[in-house]
């Protein structure tokens, strides 16, 4: 395939059947080299199943996929050598220290002995765990474990890093710092990152996202374009004469505005591009009789709006079974204390 050389991941109508249940119903997409690509969808959408097929843990029922230029079924080992993984559920050995976990991983992957120590220092410093390298993992907090898992996934310099819900069950601050690492990583190591999440706000960190629902990709684009596709932004302006501003907007720009909470507000496509036009029109040098604008804000549609527009429900409504999620988070917390 011509794109195989430049694409980190190519997937063609991938299916996965569990008994009668079709968890993944033919997904196709490509991820470019050094891209941060996100899978966004409610629990049970089939995100983990897709990741597991891409990282050779599950055999696809049908369809084709290649990762780092290797077929996930026929060239399993080549795929495995080139990928790093952070699973949804923790996979550290709590009885070992952080350094022992990384060393074991490096050896399992055949990292040359002379490179193990420097690489370990590097990845541990990157996630801020260098000082804790000799601590038993059992005593680590949930956030520390996640960071250690990310460090471990990087030990063998993978070309593609898979992260399955890397931030699930973590507090917002830890989530943010994990995202900072992920972006840093992508810049420093030119690594392709494929991650899943069901937190809407997190998808914003991705270069491109695929929205998945019930085993299918319902939308795939940059977060900006997806949101732009939903339609108009909301523009709110502060003026010294709201009534006059509304009249001027209607007569000069053909916009129906109204007053809400003491400010003039209206919806318009690509609000940011509209702002210069607005100021050109309301320029006191050109039109001194128009009211002066003292402030303007543009708010974008959120990814919640995007999900809603493609599936007809909010992502929370689409969670197949909220109690399941709670259980999983609980289990992770218990795992955190084991």
């Amino acid at each position: 395939m011509s794109t195989a050389a430049t694409q980190a991941i190519t997937v063609e109508s991938l299916h996965k059947q569990f008994g009668d249940f079709e968890a993944v119903k033919g997904v196709s997409f490509e991820v470019g080299a050094a891209e941060v690509f996100g899978f966004l969808g409610p629990n049970g959408a089939g995100k983990s199943t897709t990741i597991n097929m891409l990282c050779t843990l599950l055999t696809p029922t049908s369809g084709k996929a290649s990762v780092a230029g290797h077929d996930v079924v026929r060239e399993r080992d080549d795929v495995r050598r080139n990928i790093g993984l952070v699973f949804q559920d923790p996979t550290l050995d709590g009885y070992l220290t952080a350094a022992q976990n990384l060393k074991l991983h490096a050896e399992l992957y055949g990292v040359p002995t002379n490179l193990v120590a420097p690489r370990m220092e590097q990845v541990l410093k990157m996630v801020g765990l260098w000082d804790r390298r000799d601590g038993q993992v059992m005593a680590f907090s949930g956030g520390m474990r996640r960071r250690l898992e990310i460090a471990r996934g990087l030990m063998h310099s993978p070309r593609v890093l898979f992260l399955d819900e890397p931030t699930i069950g973590l507090d917002p601050q830890t989530r943010r710092s994990i995202w900072t690492y992920i972006r840093q990583l992508q810049e420093r190591e030119e690594i392709t990152i494929f991650m899943t999440t069901h937190y809407m706000d997190e998808a914003e960190w991705c270069d491109r996202i695929a929205i998945m629902d019930q085993g299918q990709i319902v939308a795939l684009d940059t977060p900006e374009r997806l949101k732009a596709g939903v339609g108009a932004d909301r523009v709110t302006i502060q003026t010294d004469d709201n009534e006059a501003a509304i009249t001027a907007l209607r007569e000069r720009l053909g916009i129906q505005a109204l007053i809400a909470e003491g400010a003039v507000t209206f919806r318009i496509e690509s609000g940011e591009q509209f702002v210069p036009r607005l100021f050109a029109e309301f320029d006191p040098a050109r039109n001194p009789d128009l009211p002066a604008i003292s402030g303007v804000s543009v708010s974008r549609p959120t990814l919640d709006d995007v999900f809603m527009s493609f599936t007809g429900s909010t992502i929370r409504d689409a969670e197949e079974d909220p109690s399941k999620l709670r259980n999983r988070v609980m289990m992770q917390m218990m795992g955190g204390r084991r």
Partner: protein
């Protein structure tokens, strides 16, 4: 860029690693790594070292010491503790090996199994490493019981020590392989322990570890002959009794050996049975593990 990272690294100094292709050497290395992990975990887990010695010591000193008075008529003057000592040597490695095999259930429960399963190594290397690791750990445990031979009137003969160690290793290997073949199918720790207790305990009692395997009721004789453990206990007893200075009558009564139609099986053959069984179970475990997704 962030408060948590120590210092920004110059991208030029990023240490890049290249993962080599899979080879026979990388498989051997994987076996070694899995094996060593079992040892590290065992050494770190001091509780387990102590608790797994409780049962053998209970059997040896409490049961052996307590029943001594009842049994003295039948043992031809041999101390009961001395008599059951070979059985206890087997018991120690059995239970430790069972726990070692259970670690694969833990590994699954705590996710570490996935880390190994997705590495660019063969599944068989993981199983072999686990099995050898379990055997080594169990044999190490066995050494502790071997060390107290003097307390129960068994001399520290080099041949005995080496032979017993070899037998313990072999038995531990077979039991770990058996445990693994069960553990791979079972997802929960409680069920695994339940199943193992249900199978291993009766096997242990029937094996003749605690009584001579001659002159038993017919049903028990049949069970004893088909119990694979009997073929590990018998050579162990032979080894220990070889070093004892006791009457011919006592030897005949206490170390009768395993007979098939009046023919006493040689120790080499018994050892062969255990070895073959261990290898067979290992093959089953590998096959099962390779088939899981």
């Amino acid at each position: 860029m962030t408060a948590i990272a120590d210092k920004p690294l110059d991208p030029a100094e990023v240490v890049r690693v290249h993962v080599p292709r899979r080879s026979a050497r990388s498989e051997l290395r994987a076996i070694k790594i899995v094996w060593r992990r079992e040892l590290i975990r065992f050494v770190n887990d001091r509780m387990r070292i102590v608790t797994s010695l409780v049962q053998p010591f209970l059997f040896l000193f409490v049961l052996g010491g307590g029943l001594q008075r009842l049994a003295s008529a039948g043992t031809h003057g041999v101390n009961l503790k001395t008599f059951i000592y070979p059985g206890i040597l087997c018991m120690t490695v059995m239970f430790t090996a069972m726990f070692s095999a259970a670690s694969i259930v833990w590994d699954r429960e705590f996710g570490f199994l996935r880390e190994m399963m997705v590495a660019p190594v063969r599944r068989s290397s993981i199983v072999i490493g686990k099995c050898l690791g379990g055997a080594t750990v169990a044999a190490a445990q066995g050494v502790v019981v071997l060390a107290i031979a003097g307390l129960v009137g068994v001399p520290y003969a080099p041949g005995l020590i080496l032979g017993a160690l070899g037998l313990q290793l072999l038995l531990a290997f077979a039991i770990t392989a058996f445990g693994l073949s069960v553990a791979i199918r079972i997802k929960q720790m409680q069920s695994f322990m339940g199943v193992m207790q249900m199978i291993v305990m009766p096997m242990y009692f029937i094996s003749g570890a605690l009584f001579p395997s001659s002159g038993l009721p017919a049903w028990l004789t049949v069970l004893n002959r088909i119990d694979p453990l009997a073929y590990a206990v018998d050579p162990m007893r032979r080894l220990v009794f070889g070093q004892l200075d006791i009457s011919a009558a006592a030897r005949r009564a206490l170390d009768p050996g395993i007979h098939w139609w009046g023919w006493r099986m040689p120790a080499v053959l018994e050892v062969g049975v255990v070895l073959l069984l261990g290898l067979g179970l290992l093959a089953v475990a590998i096959w099962e593990f390779s088939a899981t997704e």
